[in-house]
Symmetry: C2
DNA sequence: ACACTAATTGCAAATCATTTGCAATTAGTG
DNA sequence: CACTAATTGCAAATGATTTGCAATTAGTGT
């Protein structure tokens, strides 16, 4: 969505880091803004391939977005790597059988992170975190 | 280590699930017992290749161990998948620059998980979880 | 608006990790 | 000790991701 207020935040981050705002990059960004869940390279490519964007460009764009901290990896134990927008951060419960994903917030994690940092000899601040719970969902438990 | 008390726990799990205790499987298990940190397929293979064990067997063994819940995936944002023994579970702070890993415990996560479960319409229990913090370590922050 | 230049792109080919098919071997059972 | 299904190793296939390179383009200054 061109009118998503977060769009500007991300494009500003990219500009600040010296990356050009090219058509493919904006397309990929919009895929993330329009699909607020963890996405893999293939999903993104399927959404932009019609708009003359190569698969390689998708890979390269994901790398750039990741290094610019616009997106980050999410551990979903699927066969490929998934990413989500950094500002959309939340946590997931993932069904080990069917892959069902439920979101949840965990405000206590920030407190926990502070605690860990205060005791660490190597780290003094946290960039971001990843908390995933894995389970068998009720449906799969029956089957 | 043949004398590691946890070795028996894992071999029992494998037996119970009907998997044969073959030489390659015991070799892979021992690699995990002797290297208490997240490992990838390549690391394991390098440790067992001398003992006439094929790379394919390593991959297949990791799959079996994962489905038997002897090991599970850890999200370290590296280019390949890492695993650790389930009973060795702890959390990590990973440096986004140099990959330095520091371990920590987080006993409050279990409470948090219970809390999430009590509110979830889809899940009624947690199998395991994954909490990783990502940061730039003090050393990399200077450089 | 126009030209310049480095960054970015698309394509084709290469690489890397992981998987599959199949015949030979082996662990666990009786 | 023999039996049988599970497991293994090899070779080849697959699938995801990366690389080289020439053509294109965004952002800059004019």
């Amino acid at each position: 969505m061109k009118n998503d207020p977060k769009r500007k935040i991300y494009t500003e981050i990219l500009k600040t880091k010296g990356y050009k705002l090219t058509a493919p990059r904006l397309l990929v960004l919009d895929v993330f803004l329009q699909n607020r869940k963890p996405l893999n390279a293939d999903f993104v490519y399927e959404k932009v391939r019609t708009k003359k964007t190569d698969r390689v460009t998708v890979y390269r764009t994901l790398k750039i977005f990741e290094s610019a901290r616009v997106i980050h990896q999410v551990n979903l134990k699927k066969d490929s790597v998934f990413f989500e927008l950094t500002k959309d951060h939340h946590h997931h419960i993932v069904c080990l059988e069917c892959g069902l994903i439920e979101d949840f917030d965990a405000c206590t994690i920030d407190q926990l992170a502070k605690n860990v940092i205060s005791k660490s000899p190597y780290f003094s601040s946290i960039d971001h975190h990843s908390l995933e719970l894995f389970a068998i969902c009720k449906k799969c438990n029956k089957g």
